[in-house]
Symmetry: C3
């Protein structure tokens, strides 16, 4: 598929990182292995390696996200790259410049990578299709489509905790319909050979052909959690509450909120994940969020290492090999 | 007191820097001595030392202050640290995340220090009480409570100019009631053994039990300035003018504005200080602000060295000793 | 003239860079030659030289311009300087501080250079007149007055493409009246000995004594383009359209828009330039903007090298000679 051919060069190496779809198990495993080598860097006294010294990475954010921008900025700085933060809504487009002109201008300044956040699905692909050969594109979330670095850091966290994917049962709970995170997670987990991937959600928060994604669908929380090794709670976009999708926050928590009682249905060593920021008392109760099975902060921690891995791997193919 | 035990580790070394209260004379003197060694760095051609290379310092500002943020950012960069500027009001809290969740997330990214600015008194203490052992907190101003780096740079400026504290008369003039700067200054000057600390203000701008702070209270400017070695003019928050505290800017200047005539009441070698930004014609006239006795710009200059000292000292205790 | 004496030190070296007016051909050529040496740096794998390590450069922007700020920030980082971005409207001035007090404060922090963008003509000169001896000022655009780094990068692009200025015909098309870019370009091109500099505009978009600038004036596009070697299209400020200056965007394009047909009137090897961001279909059609004669993106690329040259040259005079 076009996603793969755009993302991978003729030698099978990662050139852009736009979506998990179309990337093979070997490549995803290489990302996780590379991230493993960077996980140590963030624990050193000097949390910096000179791998991308002299490279310029542009955080090109068409929608604000301090949290995501911060993780990419930290990852880039720990690789010794220079970082430019550009909030596009507030600048060029107000002067009537087209997206392509903005890109061409930044490329002319010899930047090496665009980390792209955009409200429209496909924006990162569009940009990757148009950049010069020496520039890499990393998708930091595009519309409802994909959030692939989040999916990879989740996979990294699961592998660190569980040591394998083969016989695991992973339950993804919440608003699957609107979640770019869920879409990317399902692709990553299936590609990595996860035993069983479940989605747990009301019919109104499931996409039309959800079965085609290779998941088992559950509508009752109690059924979906049973014997799960990993429980991934999705963030609920509160603004959807006002629409027809769900009656109220209270009602949502009653049906799909993760409590200690419900978590007891999963395996005794089950771990709880959430992409953050969490809504306490809506997606999960604080006892669970702060409890011994929660690995939510480990996810954040691993996010730096995984992004360092993806940045250094894509730069390796676009650079001259000496970087 | 709890301030001290929170700020100082079991070996008596600075771990956080939240308030001057509870810190001993020896420790304050160590800060001033360390700042002295950094004062030279900012005068070099290459204004940089590699002391905090690979460390990540977060400017966590819950209220905007370009001036204060700039001084901390410069101090951090001159110590070779990486700096992240995070304006919290504009990001996480709008997504409903709690302060503690924001902290936990940033900690998980292995940041090493929070420089905290907050409109609420006690915010920096709260954060220091909850951070992980390897993270330091520096208070960059919290509500009406404290602005301890300002107090230390003021003390540094006085020591550089006067060479000692013992027999000095220091007059602090203006809105003592609402000033976090004044509170911190009084503690610092008394701890350092200043001969006499005076406050000069109308009754409406003095806190209830001002005498307990160890100061001499004056209501008439002419009395308070007499024989002073150091005159510290506080910034007047213009918005207070509209309330019951003071009749008008003009009236304030007439009663408490520093003019050359009034300054003549102080010692011939008296110096004039102000935390900035100054309101010309309200707290002091331009002839004084720009005159030979003004050390207002020296205060700004020393602010970098003092903040470098505090950053490097707190990091020393939280790091592994090799930093 | 005062511009020159302010910009050049007693040994004829560049101290500030405020305007092209008053700078001699030798100095402009030295800037172009220095930029040539930096053009290679941006094409290296490690796009960084340690020339300004430990120096602090402040982007002091009184009006927002992400594009211009980005080019200066990149240039500074590639010289290894530390960069502070300060948006003045959003900070000090809201606290009632005067411009001079803001300057004095930043100087006290031992910053080395101000890159100034201001809506008022003469702002950069004012600042240069008041900074301390060790601080340099670079004008990044002041009102209608000057945008000298743009003019120099244009000259650099012409020299790279044409190899000389002597016998060239350069046509500048558009709103000469309101353009700080045009003013700076005319001075630069004339100083560098360009064969013929033309301006092409309706009477309403020409300044009163335009002939005094040393240009040939044309009102019909077809006349102005004939046998031109270089065509510089100015950006049209759309907001001017609503006033009395021009009837409509459509009418402007009909009279002064650059089409392939019109471009055919210029020399066969003519190049097309534009300071960006371009308004497609208003100043020029996309076939021209993206066509083989357009060097618009080369201008952007050269902008980094030219700014690196100016920054390093001005710092050389203000530093101690070892920088």
């Amino acid at each position: 598929m076009s996603g793969a051919s755009l993302q991978v060069d003729e030698r099978g190496r990662l050139r852009h990182f736009l979506t998990v779809e179309g990337l093979g198990r070997e490549l995803l495993t290489e990302i996780l292995d590379t991230a493993e080598s960077f996980a140590g860097v963030t624990e050193q006294t000097v949390k910096k390696v000179p791998l991308l010294r002299g490279k310029t990475i542009v955080n090109l954010f068409f929608e604000a996200s301090t949290r995501t921008r911060t993780t990419f900025e930290l990852a880039a700085k720990r690789l010794s790259a220079d970082v430019l933060n550009i909030n596009v809504s507030a600048s060029a487009t107000t002067k009537g410049e087209t997206l392509l002109d903005t890109l061409r201008n930044l490329e002319a300044m010899h930047v090496d990578m665009f980390v792209v956040r955009h409200a429209d699905s496909g924006a990162a692909h569009f940009i990757a299709r148009h950049v010069r050969p020496h520039v890499s594109v990393v998708n930091a979330g595009d519309g409802r489509h994909a959030h692939p670095t989040q999916a990879l850091l989740d996979a990294f966290t699961i592998r660190r905790r569980k040591g394998r994917f083969e016989d695991l049962v992973v339950a993804i709970v919440g608003d699957i319909l609107h979640s770019r995170v869920a879409r990317s997670q399902i692709h990553a987990l299936n590609t990595l050979g996860t035993g069983e991937v479940r989605v747990v959600a009301p019919r109104t928060l499931l996409p039309a052909h959800v079965d085609d994604l290779g998941v088992h669908v559950f509508h009752r929380m109690e059924d979906g959690l049973r014997e799960a090794d990993v429980v991934i709670m999705l963030r609920l976009q509160k603004e959807r509450m006002r629409g027809a999708h769900l009656p109220s926050e209270h009602e949502y928590f009653r049906l799909y909120g993760l409590t200690e009682e419900r978590l007891a249905l999963a395996r005794p060593d089950a771990i709880v994940m959430h992409p953050g920021p969490i809504n306490r008392g809506i997606e999960l109760e604080s006892r669970v969020a702060d409890g011994p099975r929660s690995v939510i902060l480990e996810q954040v921690e691993h996010g730096i290492a995984v992004r360092m891995a993806i940045m250094s791997m894509t730069m390796r193919t676009t650079g001259d090999g000496t970087a």
